[in-house]
């Protein structure tokens, strides 16, 4: 290599170093333009060097030309990178100056309604005891909603039901118990079934009443089934849903389709039994109605009440959800404010 060629290559290297050094000082568009004219402009050393290329010895030209092309590419790349750095853009994205505390891009996160979540918890418990899920229609007839469930016609036991009617023959089910009847008419014992679903009452709308509500009904039929088994099942349920310290009590009650019947209370989830506003000072909260399947109900579906015994229970999903999450107004479930829904 000739001395001229060596000098040429040294100049290329020096130019690159100078350009890189100058680039670090470029902080705005004007400075960038000055940099471009200085290093890439027609009168820049680059132009002079490419003209002087022809004066080199023939054998040195390929190497010198390659170095010169690389320099040109590097300078152009540098220019583009400067342009990009100085161009319009969001603050904070500069890798070197990244603000790692800025919020990330949220993946879309959907939510299940709290009644669904509560229902799934209820189902999970009963599934573990071998209960299958069954469904029934929301519009029912008198036979399934009342008659087969041992509600005598013209009896005050129907008053509590506040039934909404579609016409003389069809009504909106007041509980999911009619599905008990459907299941028993179709299947033979042993049976373990829960029936979830929407129910209807001719209620006014206030903080604790809504014309629509959800129930989970349970039914177990076998040869030897006792009130003790019912207590055990619901005690385990209450502990599963509300925690292991939850206490439970059975109060004798009346339902036409069970006998003996009970209302089921748990120790108040707020005060633990001391008495507070949530429990009305009683220390107990009602969560379910339950009892031993009435022999008349068995007769109505063609089961022999001497051979079979069973228990049944029904609970309000809204009620369980309200106690579990500390919700004090049933209307919240149906208003669907995001401020409410996104909490679950």
């Amino acid at each position: 290599m000739t001395e001229d060629a060596k000098k040429f290559l040294a100049e290329v290297t020096a130019l690159k170093t100078a350009a890189e050094k100058a680039a670090t000082a470029v902080s705005d568009g004007k400075a960038l333009e000055r940099w471009r004219i200085e290093f890439l402009g027609r009168k820049s050393p680059l132009g002079r060097l490419s003209k002087s290329l022809t004066s080199l010895a023939e054998g040195d030209r390929p190497a010198a030309g390659k170095a010169l092309n690389e320099l040109r590419a590097d300078l152009k790349a540098e220019y583009e990178s400067l342009q990009k750095r100085l161009g319009p853009k969001k603050a904070g994205t500069d890798e070197a100056r990244l603000d790692y505390t800025l919020p990330g891009v949220q993946p879309p996160i959907g939510t299940l309604h709290p009644l669904t979540k509560t229902y799934y918890e209820i189902t999970a418990f009963f599934a573990s005891l071998g209960f299958n899920v069954a469904h029934g229609p929301e519009v029912e007839d008198e036979f399934h909603n009342f008659g087969a469930l041992n509600f005598p016609p013209d009896h005050p036991s129907r008053d509590a039901q506040d039934t909404l009617y579609v016409n003389d023959e069809w009504l909106l089910r007041t509980h999911t118990s009619p599905a008990q009847i459907r299941v028993m008419l179709e299947q033979r014992p042993p049976l373990r079934v829960i029936v979830p679903g929407r129910c209807f009452r001719a209620d006014a709308v206030d903080a604790s009443h809504y014309p629509v509500f959800h129930q989970v009904e349970g039914l177990l039929v076998d040869e030897n089934v006792s009130l003790g088994d019912l207590k055990g099942t619901l005690t385990a349920f209450a502990e599963y849903i509300f925690g292991p310290d939850t206490k439970m009590r059975f109060r004798p009650h009346f339902f036409p389709f069970t006998e003996p019947s009970a209302e089921v209370d748990i120790s108040c989830v707020v005060c633990g039994g001391e008495g507070c506003r949530t429990c009305g000072g009683k220390g107990w909260l009602e969560i379910a109605g339950a009892g031993m399947v009435h022999p008349n109900v068995f007769r109505n579906v063609g089961y022999d009440p001497e051979q079979w015994a069973g228990y049944a229970f029904g609970m309000g999903v809204e009620r369980i959800a309200m106690l579990k999450y500390g919700i004090d107004d049933i209307r919240l479930f149906y208003e669907n404010d995001f401020a409410f829904l996104k909490q679950f």
Partner: protein, 665 residues
């Protein structure tokens, strides 16, 4: 019903603090809903279940208190000094309709002075919320509250023809009640009539014209046993509910009518200074017996989960005044007291044993026995699958009421005639059953939009209703999803995508993938598997517009539970991508082009549209589709020649079937 503790103590002087007593009653099935101290008295409000009408009286509740506390029970004394009825006061009682009134007892008291009640009487009544009117009426109310037998006092002087006829009303017969309401009676109503017409609506309310007033000097005290169903129907027919009808509907003790009439007569004589005449009238069935019930102790123990002896059970039942004997099989032969109208069969006695023993003392056990085989529940599995797809896409699940009203439906362009009306709605906005889910979702969107949400992505799984044949209602389980505003969470670094048709269509496509179901669109309608669905674009404040898909889901049950999905072996050989830019008529469905390309070669594994445009450089009425086809073979690396041949084949099919031309590149 309200009970005064002081009054209760007249019959059972239990020495138990009020709150302890309330607790014991509650645990015996007589739930004390409130306990209020008033002066030196305590008023208990007890929820009495409909079948325990025997407890709708002070004596009835005192009997329970006596059982629970062991304190003695003292029944009210009935000390009658009667004078033989003189001719001028005799009243002829004619019990015509015995089916609706099995027993009718009555007493006459004369020479009385109607006036204010003595303080003890007024106090007793007012303690339990009954207003004091005059001494005669107050005594009838007092005895009703004391013994649970509703009574009625007629002013004897106002009974025309000195007759009381217990009969069904004549159609249209008129009666003016004590409260001033005039009724045109139904022939199904039972009335008490005098010689000329109805004077009382039996078991519900007396008539104004025979009412006791300050000038009353003689009364007939009625103490009857009316048929519960008849009283209930009549009371409901006129929208009435009285202390009297409430008790008769629930059933009264037919053996107690005469005793109650005597008790009232004696007390009226005491407080209003009258003379009790005798003998009393007592028509209808006067002898009543209870059926003998066999209780098998083993059966009772099995149902309750207890291990009581027959003797244990007998002791409990006798303390509740049940007659208990034994048969040769060691079974208990039970006869319930006459006021326990709820105890008619063995199971009723089992319940009574359990209640008397205490549910608290029944040991909690988990059920043993046989477990039914687990079964798949297609509906549950479908709903879970749908919820997974929707929540993964960022949608929030909502629950909206099943009701709507014609105005709302009209506002969303739906015909109210397609909705099922509710016969007796309680709220006017809830007058019909919803024929679609999406109008309620639109309301949820507007509500949240107005509360400041920039984005509303919501879905609901629920039932819609439509009129069926013969008054039936057809139920359709549906899924609806609505998107409005921004389609993804905001971030400062990029503009958010907007919800539009393609966004909600993507949800349906995701469902189709999750359920392995086919999806075809015809205009705004689509078929997902065997289910039908529809896209709705609606104006929606404050977003401008909303985008909804709503579909039937029942035809999809079973898809999530038993999918047809099968594993397809993965090819180890690289795939080759070929792009096409084809120009077709505007009316050509992209889906048809894609389907044709998918079928064009068995090597075509994936066909996707990456660009669509019209206008610039294209003839009018034509559009350009940019389509990418991925070719792959399972057994070899494809050569460029093979891929090109496949592409050429695809072009020929498009040309032939859709009149497509290649766009020059």
């Amino acid at each position: 019903m309200k009970y005064s503790l002081k009054w209760l103590r007249d019959y059972c002087p239990a020495n138990v603090p009020a709150d302890k007593l309330a607790q014991q009653l509650t645990m015996a099935g007589l739930e004390v809903e409130s306990l209020v101290r008033v002066g030196d008295d305590v008023v208990l409000d007890v929820e009495v279940v409909p079948v325990r009408s025997d407890c709708l009286s002070m004596v009835g509740l005192a009997r329970e208190i006596s059982f629970l506390t062991g304190a003695p029970l003292t029944l009210p004394p009935v000390l009658i000094k009667e004078v033989r009825i003189p001719k001028e006061f005799s009243v002829d009682v004619d019990l015509v309709d015995r089916d609706l009134c099995p027993r009718y007892s009555a007493r006459i008291v004369t020479d009385l002075r109607a006036g204010a009640s003595p303080p003890w009487l007024a106090e007793r009544l007012e303690a339990v919320g009954v207003r004091s009117l005059n001494n005669v009426v107050d005594i009838t109310n007092f005895v009703n509250l004391e013994m649970g037998q509703p009574l009625h006092a007629f002013d004897l002087a106002k009974l025309r023809g000195r007759k009381l006829v217990i009969r069904r009303a004549a159609a249209g017969e008129k009666l003016v009640l004590i409260d001033g309401q005039e009724l045109a009676l139904s022939p199904e109503d039972l009335v008490i009539a005098d010689a000329e017409g109805a004077v009382a609506l039996a078991g519900v309310m007396g008539g104004r014209d025979s009412e006791v007033s300050s000038s009353t000097e003689a009364v007939v005290i009625e103490s009857a046993h009316f048929d519960p169903v008849s009283v209930r129907r009549t009371a409901r027919r006129y929208g009435l509910s009285t202390e009297s009808s409430y008790r008769f509907e629930r059933g009264t003790d037919p053996t107690a009518t005469l005793e109650a009439a005597d008790r009232a007569a004696a007390l009226i004589a005491e407080v209003a200074g009258g003379t009790v005449l005798g003998p009393p009238a007592d028509k209808g069935q006067t002898e009543w017996s209870r059926p003998a019930i066999v209780l098998r102790p083993a059966r009772a123990n099995m149902l309750l989960g207890t291990s009581l002896t027959g003797e244990d059970m007998a002791v409990l039942l006798r303390r509740l005044y049940f007659d208990v004997g034994l048969d040769r099989m060691e079974n208990l032969i039970i006869s319930a007291p006459p006021y326990r109208r709820d105890v008619c069969a063995e199971i009723d006695v089992v319940e009574e044993v359990g209640r008397a023993y205490g549910y608290d003392d029944v040991e909690a056990t988990l059920p043993g026995g046989r477990m039914p085989a687990p079964a798949r529940v297609p509906r549950e599995e479908l709903e879970r699958a749908a919820r997974e797809v929707l929540t993964a896409a960022g949608f929030a699940e909502v629950y909206t009421p099943s009701f709507t009203d014609p105005e709302k439906l009209a506002a969303y362009g739906l015909d109210a005639a397609t909705a099922v009306p509710v016969a007796n709605p309680t709220v006017s906005q809830f007058s019909h059953l919803r024929p679609a889910l999406w109008p309620a979702l639109a309301e949820v969107a507007t509500r949240n939009g107005r509360l400041g949400a920039p984005s509303v992505l919501v879905f609901e799984l629920g039932t819609v209703f439509e009129p069926g044949e013969d008054g039936r209602v057809v139920e359709r389980p549906r899924l609806a999803a609505l998107a409005a505003g921004e389609a993804a969470p905001r971030h400062w670094s990029r503009p958010p995508p907007r919800a539009d048709f393609f966004f909600v269509k993507g949800i349906v496509e995701a469902l189709a993938r999750a359920l392995d179901a086919s999806l075809t669109w015809r205009g705004e309608s689509f078929s997902l598997g065997d289910g039908e669905g529809k896209y709705v674009r609606l104006p929606l404040e404050p977003f401008g517009e909303g985008h909804v898909v709503e579909m039937d889901v029942a035809p999809l049950y079973g898809r999530a539970a038993a999918p047809s999905r099968r594993y397809h072996p993965i090819s180890r050989f690289p795939s080759v991508v070929r792009d096409l830019a084809v120009v077709v008529d505007d009316g050509t469905a992209a889906a048809d082009v894609v389907a044709a390309l998918r079928d064009s070669s068995e090597l075509a594994r994936e066909v996707s549209v990456f660009d669509v445009f019209t206008g610039e450089g294209l003839p009018p009425g034509r559009k350009s589709l940019g389509i990418r086809i991925r070719y792959q073979a399972d057994d070899r690396t494809l050569t460029d020649e093979e891929a090109n041949a496949a592409r050429q084949g695809a072009i020929e099919i498009l040309t032939e079937r859709f009149g497509a031309t290649l766009r020059s590149q």
